[in-house]
Amino acid sequence: MNLEYGPEYERFRDEVRDFLAGNRHRAPHASQRAARPDAAAVAWQKLLIEHGYTARTIPREYGGYGAEPDILKARIIAEEFARAGVPAGLSNQGISMLVPTLLELGTEEQKRRWIEPTLRGEIVWCQGYSEPGAGSDLASLRTSAREEDGHFVINGQKIWTSTARQADMIFCLVRTEAEAPKHAGISYLIFPMDLPGIEVRPLKTMTGHAEFNETFFTDVRVPVDQIVGQRGQGWFVANATLGHERGMLGDPDALENRLLALIRLMRDERVGSARAIEDPVLRDRLVALQAEVAAMKYNGMRVLSNQLKGDAGGMAKLIVKLQSCELAHQISALAIDAMGEMGILYSDSPRVREGGTWQWNYMFQLGLIIGGGTAQIQKNIIAERGLDMPREPRLALASAEGRKDVA
């Protein structure tokens, strides 16, 4: 057990701290970090790329910083930005999902054309994966693309397309081979969102806000070369990056920050002349959450160490999405309970605490438990990949057939 990063890394940490001290006044406010970055956010992103604090390992010829992958340096950057309360680089589905996909499976031309403007925040992407009839069973998607004089003609509907209203482009899974088994008939297309026949409707959620959209396609024509990977290989192209999304949803720094905010709230919130934190029942729940957040933090350090040794992370990694999303939800639940009757206040009500953030989080985090692979799908993954338990017999059969046909 050695928790020291070593002198080379401590020097690097000092560099990051110096950078933050000298430049933090140029950082955009977190609240400004909308789907489409404003001028300040774009300028900040440019500065971060120049210093290698974001897009760090993306090759220079594609607009990144071009550093060798170094997990510890990436970790130090994340830690120091979180500690300073300064927004790190842009984080959106284009950067977290499309860019890694193109780096792995895109053509040279696609890499040169799309990666740099995406990193710089000039092109905003949305993701067209889920459909009303294809959620956990994503491979059953039905949005169709038939080929017609050098174009795919797309018809169908996507759902949960966050940022679709702001997006310039979409990366989208469509069924190109109607007759093929479900995993083998899918292609991964990229196309502009302003094409004729695309309609975006805001999807209002239980929070009262439209954080997502539905996107409809009616005879949308896309040139056949706007495909990533081979025709019919879209399922594998998409799966190459689903892991990146799950990684995004389980950040231990975020849990610690929520917990600190909860402690502040419980110290401020008064019940009569006492403070919420003086209630032994609420306090007991708080410390139970602290212990669990500590466990997830050290679990994250263990996963990081394993990755340094070239180990994929095993069970310690598989459980992160399930446990972190649940824990985040529990933290918000306790905040609401600590506020008592005040806990029901929302939006811009008189007396509302922190703009109703805790209630919004409580609801939105339930969405995160469901999204990105539901809790139940996560449990299947943990059981089948982590514990080597048998699959559902019918699914096992279908999957074996799918693999055989693809091969």
Binding site: L3, V287, A288, P390
Partner: protein
């Protein structure tokens, strides 16, 4: 940076595991329990052979001079094997008490005998966590008077380390006049605890350090109970998964039903982070003194909750068989129950954690 066990610690765990696989299969556990003993001479001898009797005793005094993280590695394996052997009190807390609060003469006198197995200690510090049934120990006319509950590694102990009500530690010979030892029966027959009724019993005091050593013993005890529970919990999950892969109902193995599979996934998901938490707490005990007490509380209370869930869920996965004596699953269930309560159940320990952080007060 390397968060995890060293290769030596991996080897230590592997050595203890092999040793227990050979000497302490479930049949043997059952044999000891049926004979009414929580001390297997055979397992003790085998562990002594690889040096574990004196693992915490400094090398200068004939031991291995190991760390709390090493001890946690061992405790995990003992829990995994539900091994009926004294360890926590005899091989860890007693030498630690002498190292922290013993005079050089006391250390020179006792530590080599602990390492060789010539002195067999029990440790009674439960009273500093919570006073129950009015039991406490005070100094009267130069001797110890009162009652000490839940003395660990009670069976076969010829000496005890006892904390008095002020938190000061004393070294007491079991055969001294004024000591009445009374065994307690617990759910967990693989470990022995007892009470000491003391009437002016002559004892050697250790240093009066304001209870510091006693609090360190409490932290160490909490970490190792958590580590024991980690091993016991992992063994239960493995057994549940193996059973679910074998047992057929409705023409399929029950592990292919999501109802069963998800129970196993939930156990694994809650259990796995406990490992990093226990390691960190042990490491903090060794080198991060400011964090030691708090992380010990986190490790103890969190594993207590998680492994209670694991113990009942793994039993349920086994269906009716899990409820029988036949499979012996209950040995792990009870071991986990013991680990949870001793030296403070989760609520008690969390209250201490709150106090340590100043969360009781409204001020920032």
């Amino acid at each position: 940076m390397d968060f995890g066990l060293s290769s030596e610690q991996e080897m230590l765990g592997e050595a203890v595991r092999r040793c227990l696989a050979e000497t302490c299969p479930l049949d043997h556990v059952r044999f000891c329990v049926d004979a009414g003993s929580a001390v297997s001479d055979r397992v003790m001898a085998a562990l002594h052979e690889i040096g574990l009797t004196g693992l915490m005793v400094p090398e200068a005094h004939g031991g291995l001079g190991m760390t709390m993280l090493d001890a946690a590695v061992v405790a995990e394996q003992l829990g995994r094997a539900v091994a009926p052997v004294p360890f926590l009190g005899r091989s860890v807390l007693a030498p630690l008490a002498l190292m922290l609060a013993g005079s050089p003469a006391q250390q020179a006198d006792w530590l080599p005998r602990i390492a060789s197995g010539a002195a067999r200690f029990g440790v009674a510090i439960a009273g500093i966590v919570e006073e129950r049934d009015g039991a406490s120990v005070r100094i009267e006319d130069g001797g110890l008077t009162g009652t000490a509950l839940f003395a660990l590694d009670f069976e076969g102990a010829d000496h005890f380390i006892v904390a008095d009500a002020s938190g000061r530690l004393h070294l007491l010979a079991a055969a001294t006049t004024g000591v009445e030892p009374i065994a307690l029966q617990t759910i967990d027959a693989t470990r022995s605890v007892g009470e000491l009724r003391l009437t002016g019993a002559a004892a050697e005091p250790l240093a009066d350090d304001g209870g510091l050593a006693t609090r360190r013993l409490r932290d160490a005890g909490r970490i190792l109970l958590a580590a024991d529970s980690l091993g016991a919990g992992e063994a239960m999950i493995e057994q549940a998964v193996a059973y679910a892969a074998e047992r057929e109902q409705f023409g399929r193995v029950i592990g292919s039903f999501q109802a069963v599979k998800h129970m196993c996934a939930e156990m694994a998901a809650r259990h796995e982070p406990c490992r990093a938490l226990v390691w960190y707490a042990a490491h903090a005990f060794d080198v991060l003194p400011d964090e030691a007490a708090l992380t010990a509380c986190f490790a103890k209370s969190h594993t207590g909750e998680v492994h209670r869930f694991v113990a009942r869920t793994a039993t349920e996965v086994h269906g009716g068989m899990g409820f029988t004596d036949l499979l012996g699953l209950h040995f792990w269930f009870k071991r986990i129950g013991f680990d949870r309560q001793l030296l403070g159940g989760p609520e008690r320990v969390r209250a201490e954690a709150a106090q340590l952080q100043g969360l009781n007060a409204a001020t920032r």
